[in-house]
């Protein structure tokens, strides 16, 4: 395996940086009209690069592909010196999420074309620079396999999003931006402590093996001594299984990672930052936040919690899955009570990601495959819903549901598209959302770690999804048009709006009717994780 050459992964990862560099050297005033094109073109090239990766990806081979690893720095922790390396590569799960990122990015840039926020707030150049930075860091999170570098990318994603909300957001943007930053940051610090511990005790920050170094994951999973690997590296381990949840190092490390991810997902009850951030963020921000950023949390759980701490995962699975189920019902119920369209969609994420969490902690192939695919589905459907809300806001300048009504009549095409996206979000079979939810619930019923009640209650969430989404659809699109626009031209969809919807609609039907392609991508990677939990 060539681990030092320039791999496709690196090319995809750094393409947004090229766009960023170009944008930096452009004059924000004289080239104002060109800025968005540079950003859009860059995101398209990145997408093409990721598709090239996909074509080169061999779904039948286990382990990472398109790997590159260069030593970056040496850190001395205590007595030992540990390498921090630039270590990138993809397996099926990473591949799918990279594709999701590069897919959502051009759409959200298209969604910013001609937006009113630039008339109000200006600074278009900075806006697109942040979007490029965001894309770079998000891809980074999904492809790096060195814990320290992962942490760097993880934190870097916060910066552009903080400014996107803080500068181009709605009225309470500063509050929302600070809250978003602090919440995520607080969780991350616990993760950093856990990362430092892991690196110190195992002697490496690489999670996978490459170039002769044995990664942490392999060390954990091929441990053959007494107890678990973490018992062995912990000098004070007493081997007392009775107090595993709170007395073992592994359990605490698990929690350190989990809290960071749980806040990001967000798992109930850590979701309090989400409605603020979503409602205040500009359209592109909301689309990316829902489409990709939240998936970093669920991805992290799958990649690190499950792989590094299998014993703790099993011990904690019912509890976390329980929080997932609570999130499904609670998120849906709270969503239903909202009068603000954007808030309604925001809370729906809590419900949808509850399904993903449940699927992950079912710890079987159905659950994990369904959960990973559902990450993509949620990105597409909820991203689409936020686009819809954004387009409504551009026209009517309100987020209150009571101010809408009859939009379908004024904008027939827009109404039809919104219906399809809403249906995909509520899991109508034949569309993408159903595939994910069905597979997750299938997995949860057959899980060795979760009882019957988990599936029974979670499935009730399917009813609730129809309840809140139809409420939104009826109030916004049906009934009488309450506020006619001053000119009929306002009802027309612009070309960029249409162009943003086309790929979304295609993916909704593609995943709904032929999900095989995506399951194939995941099959081997998920299998290697599931193998840890077969009793």
């Amino acid at each position: 395996m060539d681990v030092t050459g320039l791999s496709l992964t690196t090319i995809t990862l750094f393409t947004p940086m090229i766009g960023l560099a170009i944008l930096l050297f452009m004059n924000g005033e004289t080239h104002k009209a060109n800025l968005k094109w540079v950003a859009f073109a860059t995101s398209l090239v990145t997408f093409v690069a990721s598709v090239v990766m996909w074509i080169n990806f061999d779904p039948s081979s286990p382990g990472l592909q398109m790997v590159q690893r260069n030593t970056w720095a040496e850190v001395s922790l205590g007595d030992s010196v540990i390498n921090v390396s630039y270590f990138v590569g993809v397996d099926g799960i990473s591949m799918l999420l990279v594709l999701l990122t590069t897919f959502i990015m051009p759409i959200s840039i298209l969604g910013s074309f001609g937006s009113h926020i630039f008339e109000e707030r200006g600074r278009e150049k900075l806006y697109y620079i942040f979007l490029m930075l965001l894309e770079w860091s998000m891809i980074g999170v999904f492809v790096v396999h060195d814990l320290i570098i992962f942490y760097v990318f993880w934190e870097v994603t916060l910066v552009p999003m903080y400014f996107l909300i803080g500068i181009w957001g709605s009225e309470e943007r500063i509050y929302a931006a600070v809250k978003f930053f602090l919440y995520t940051m607080a969780g991350s610090i616990l993760m950093l402590i856990a990362i430092l511990y892991v690196g110190n005790r195992s002697g490496t920050f690489s999670t996978y093996s490459a170039g002769g170094d044995v990664g942490v994951i392999e060390r954990v999973q091929s441990w053959e001594g007494a107890g678990t690997y973490w018992d062995a590296v912990d000098p004070e381990a007493d081997g007392d299984e009775a107090g595993f949840l709170f007395n073992s190092v592994e359990s605490w490390l698990f929690l350190g990672f989990l809290v960071a991810f749980a806040i990001k997902v967000p798992i109930f009850p850590f979701h309090s930052w989400l409605p603020d951030a979503h409602v205040q963020a500009p359209t592109a921000g909301s689309v990316i936040l829902a489409g990709v950023l939240l998936k970093m949390g669920t991805y992290g759980i799958v990649r690190f919690n499950l792989n590094l701490f299998p014993e703790a995962t099993v011990a904690w699975a019912p509890t976390i899955a329980f929080l997932g189920v609570v999130g499904i019902i609670y998120g849906a119920w709270v969503s239903y009570a909202q009068d603000n369209v954007k808030k309604l969609v925001a809370y729906s994420s809590v419900s949808h990601l509850g399904f993903v969490v449940l699927g992950i902690f079912a710890l079987n192939a159905q659950g994990l495959q369904g959960a990973t695919l559902q990450m993509v589905n949620h990105g597409i459907s909820t991203g689409g819903l936020f686009l819809i809300v954004g387009m409504l806001y551009e026209r009517w300048h309100t987020k209150e549901m009571a101010d809408y009504g009859g939009v379908w009549k004024a904008m027939p095409l827009f109404g039809a598209i919104s219906l399809v996206i809403s249906l995909s979000s509520m899991g109508l079979p034949g569309l993408n959302g159903f595939i994910g939810e069905f597979t997750i619930l299938l997995g949860s019923l057959g899980s060795e770690f979760l009882g019957f009640a988990f599936t029974l209650i979670a499935t009730l969430g399917v009813i609730m999804a129809a309840v809140y989404l139809l409420k939104m659809f009826q109030h916004v699109f049906m009934g009488e048009l309450k506020k006619p626009l001053s000119s009929d031209d306002g009802y027309k969809l612009t070309w960029s709006e249409k162009a943003a919807f086309i790929p979304i609609i295609i993916m909704i039907f593609w995943i709904g009717i032929q999900p095989i392609v995506f399951f194939n991508l995941l099959d081997v990677s998920v299998d290697s994780i599931v193998a840890l939990f077969v009793r």
């Binding site: 969780g187 019923l445 057959g446 599936t455 049906m478 009934g479 099959d523």
Partner: protein
């Protein structure tokens, strides 16, 4: 002949294409062309269904499994052998449904061209109708539960779109329409929950969701093997050839010979090559000869049920185990929940009366003839479950009977007290669906399907007839208003073209509508020799047999309750005839109502004709006169290839006393209704005749108030649900979690502590602590400084997380104990 089933994907594709054309080009088409496209697609689909019928009859009940081209499987996860395909099944049951859906559907399409004439959304209407047909045909031709579910939800979506078709009408009517649509979708979703749970359990029990694998038939014991052999092209040919050459003895030895042994026979029929190397065939042959149990992995859900039921197997769901028989019971109950949603049974029927907000052709097609029968269809499709459960001593049959018979009686009673012409028909539909479900409950699957077919015809007729009446009265109303001068606008808003008190005497104004409506009424009331007589009589005869001959409680209940419901049926239908068509006109609108146009009348006439003759497809044995003319039990012999059993009482001789009781009861009800309502001339707003009497007053009012079901649900479910939603969102999530817990408690508390600390201690100490956390935190803290109270909040949040973590840690053991106890 063998290749005919390959046409079955077209049955779906044609209306789907019709829908797409109308969706994308409808706006550019002339109105009549969207109608033509819609009708053409529907009729073409009907013709293909007829071809499929010739396949099933031609092969004597053959069944085929078809993988549509171009779609390579569907939900497939290779590593765990999860494989659910887009796979269709052609057998007598699915062909029956296809014919009903496309046949009645085509007539309704034709009718809709006249009914919707002039509406600005005609293309959209036909697009939805075609889309509905496509989904309904996916539902009935599916060969696995998941694909059935696609159709099941798809028709629900179309129902939603069509109920709310006129959501843009003026307030409040438009809003009422969209409310009805939403209600239908959500109530059906509750049923879908049941079906989903059933599917999850089916998968973990059987490892597949397929009804039957290719070549399998549902009949009990090893029968499906025999059928498989009979209906497999290659084997049938071979056996004939062998039998012809060497006689019976040789044939026997052939059956146990391995697949490749008859080299010459294979060569001779190599054009049928695909079956020659069928692993299923080899396995079945081997096991058949060894007299073993079959490898259940090679069988579909129902074949496995036949094999495993009663063997004491357990099913492993990972965290818990259940006995196989109990699992089947749970699955059946979950399916039943789905049925009560789609087929409008207690307790989920409440959406159907509201669904009448849709255009009348929609009510006829979706909410009477086809979609609402999907529940009965899935019960009959799952007859293996029910049959095994009933024979294993489980009372599932009684439960289903209670649901069905209870619904039949309750809805029939409510129909007695309604004024809206379509609402009476809606409750009548619920009641008749109850008949079908009760029939399934007593194990009379053929009778249930028979009634489904006849009911589809005459209820479609009645709905289309009521549409013709409403159409006429509306036109009469407009006509009357053009001639009255001024001040009529307030009146117009109040006028209800569906209130039967505004009608009367329409037999003279609309003679063809009247005659066809009368035929439909007699058919529904079960009057000899119309279609309803035969199908209702068969349900009653089966119920009688189950009860009085076999001493089954469900039989007694079904017989008694359904007899009363049948009397109600005749009564409310005749009340309708009197109020709408007889006596004198009671409003200007009714006086001037014109007869509908030909596009609407022709479908009425065709349906009327079939309402008379469709009952003859299943004439019982030794019926006086009829037996000589018609083949007896033809429908039963057709359908039995799709059923596990049609034994017990289901091939009875004609029972004159039961038919007589039902007939006399029906005629008596008609006479009573005639006596009560004839010549009373109830005008708009007037009270019903029954409401004047002492004892009948309360009964009528209860029926008129629809037994307060809607109010009950509003009080018990809807309002608590909304209140809890508001409580969770405002109090718990916003006030407590968002404002108090985060903004007040954590932030203000630590702002205070931070201030106290920052004065006595040097800021450097704090900074030092930050540095101690590492360079990354410092970088983060740099960012924090940009906001005024940056790092104070940072600590606040760290502490907050700590608090939450402690809370979780404290609560976790309890939760885990609870969960462990539960599992």
């Amino acid at each position: 002949m063998e290749n005919l089933p390959l046409l079955v994907p077209l049955v779906i594709l044609v209306p789907a294409l019709g829908a797409l054309i109308n969706f994308f080009f409808g706006a550019k088409l002339e109105e009549k062309w969207s109608g033509y496209i819609g009708c053409f697609a529907s009729i073409l689909s009907f013709i293909i269904s007829l071809l499929l019928l010739t396949y099933v009859t031609g092969t004597n009940g053959g069944a085929a499994v078809v993988n549509p081209p171009f779609v390579d499987g569907w939900l497939r996860i290779e590593s765990i052998g999860l494989e659910i395909g887009w796979q269709q099944r052609v057998d007598s049951l699915s062909v029956t449904m296809m014919l009903v859906v496309t046949g009645v559907g085509s007539l309704i399409h034709l009718y809709a061209r006249g009914y919707m004439y002039g509406d600005k959304w005609v293309p959209r209407f036909f697009a939805y109708l075609n889309m509905f047909l496509a989904f309904m045909l996916i539902l009935v031709t599916a060969n696995n539960f998941l694909m059935l579910f696609v159709g099941w939800e798809g028709v629900g979506l179309c129902s939603f779109l069509l109920i709310g078709f006129w959501w843009d009408k003026k307030m409040p009517e438009g809003w009422k329409n969209s409310n009805a649509a939403r209600k239908a979708f959500i109530v059906n979703r509750i049923g879908d929950f049941g079906l989903l749970m059933a599917m999850f359990m089916i998968f973990w029990t059987f490892g597949t969701l397929d009804f039957y694998k290719a070549g399998e038939l549902p009949n009990a014991e090893a029968k499906y093997l025999v059928h498989w052999r009979e209906h497999n092209g290659l084997l049938a040919h071979d056996e004939e050839a062998e039998a012809g050459a060497a006689g019976d003895e040789h044939d026997k030895t052939y059956k146990c010979a391995p697949a490749g042994a008859d080299g010459h026979a294979d060569d001779a029929h190599s054009d049928d090559g695909q079956a020659a190397s069928n692993p299923l065939a080899d396995d079945i042959r081997a096991r058949y000869c060894d007299n073993q149990h079959f490898d259940t992995e090679l069988l579909g859900v129902f074949g496995q049920t036949t094999e495993l039921f009663g063997t004491g197997e357990t099913v492993d769901f990972g965290s818990f185990q259940l006995a196989f028989d109990d699992v089947i019971l749970l699955i059946a109950l979950f399916v039943l929940l789905g049925v009560t949603g789609k087929s409008a049974q207690i307790p989920l029927f409440v959406w159907l009366p509201d669904a009448m907000a849709g255009p009348t052709p929609v009510s006829a097609l979706i909410h009477a003839a086809t979609m609402v029968t999907a529940g009965v269809f899935i019960l009959v499709r799952s007859n293996v479950f029910l049959w095994e459960l009933n024979h294993g001593g489980y009372v599932i049959g009684l439960v289903i009977t209670l649901v069905g018979a209870g619904t039949a009686l309750m809805a029939g009673y409510i129909a007695l007290g309604q004024w809206d012409i379509k609402r009476v028909l809606a409750y009548s539909t619920i009641s008749q669906l109850g008949f079908m479900v009760a029939a399934v409950g007593i194990g009379a699957y053929v009778a249930a399907m028979f009634h489904l077919v006849t009911h589809a015809v005459f209820k479609a007729l009645l709905f289309l007839g009521s549409g013709s009446v409403i159409h006429g009265v509306e036109h009469g109303h407009h006509h009357a208003h053009e001639h009255s001068h001024g001040g009529g606008h307030a009146d117009e808003a109040d006028f209800d073209a569906q209130d039967m008190r505004n009608m009367g005497g329409l037999r003279k104004r609309m003679p063809i509508t009247y005659i066809t409506y009368l035929i439909g009424t007699l058919a529904l009331a079960g009057i000899f020799p119309f279609a309803g007589f035969w199908s209702k009589d068969e349900i009653l005869a089966d119920a009688w047999f189950e009860g009085f001959e076999l001493n089954e409680l469900s039989g007694f209940i079904a017989f008694g309750v359904l007899l009363v419901a049948a009397a109600f049926t005749a009564f409310y239908m005749w009340r309708q005839i009197v109020l709408v068509f007889l006596d004198d006109p009671r409003s200007e609108a009714a006086e001037q109502a014109p007869e509908s146009n030909g596009a609407m009348l022709v479908p009425l006439l065709v349906l009327a004709l079939f309402s008379i003759i469709i009952g003859f497809i299943n004439v019982p044995k030794s019926t006086p006169i009829f037996t000589g003319i018609y083949e007896t039990y033809e429908f039963k012999y057709f359908l039995e290839h799709s059923l596990v059993s049609v034994s017990r009482g289901h091939s009875l001789d004609f029972n004159l006393s039961i038919a007589g009781i039902a007939l006399v009861l029906g005629i008596a009800s008609i006479l009573v209704a005639n006596r009560v309502y004839k010549g009373k001339g109830l005008a708009s707003g007037q009270r019903d005749v029954l409401e004047d009497g002492g004892a009948s007053r309360l009964l009528f009012r209860l029926a008129n108030a629809r037994l307060y079901w809607d109010e009950f649900y509003a009080a018990v479910i809807e309002q608590p649900f909304n209140r809890l939603a508001a409580f969770l969102a405002d109090r718990i999530d916003w006030d407590f979690l968002h404002n108090y817990f985060h903004d007040s408690l954590i932030k203000r508390g630590f702002d205070t502590i931070g201030e106290l600390l920052s004065k006595p201690f040097d800021l450097g100490i704090v900074d030092g602590t930050v540095n101690g956390l590492g360079i990354f935190v410092q970088r983060a803290a740099d960012w924090m400084r940009r906001s005024q109270t940056g790092y104070v909040r940072l600590y606040a949040v760290i502490l907050f997380v700590g608090v939450v973590a402690v809370i979780i840690l404290m609560v976790t053991p309890f939760i885990q104990t609870l969960l462990a106890g539960g599992a």
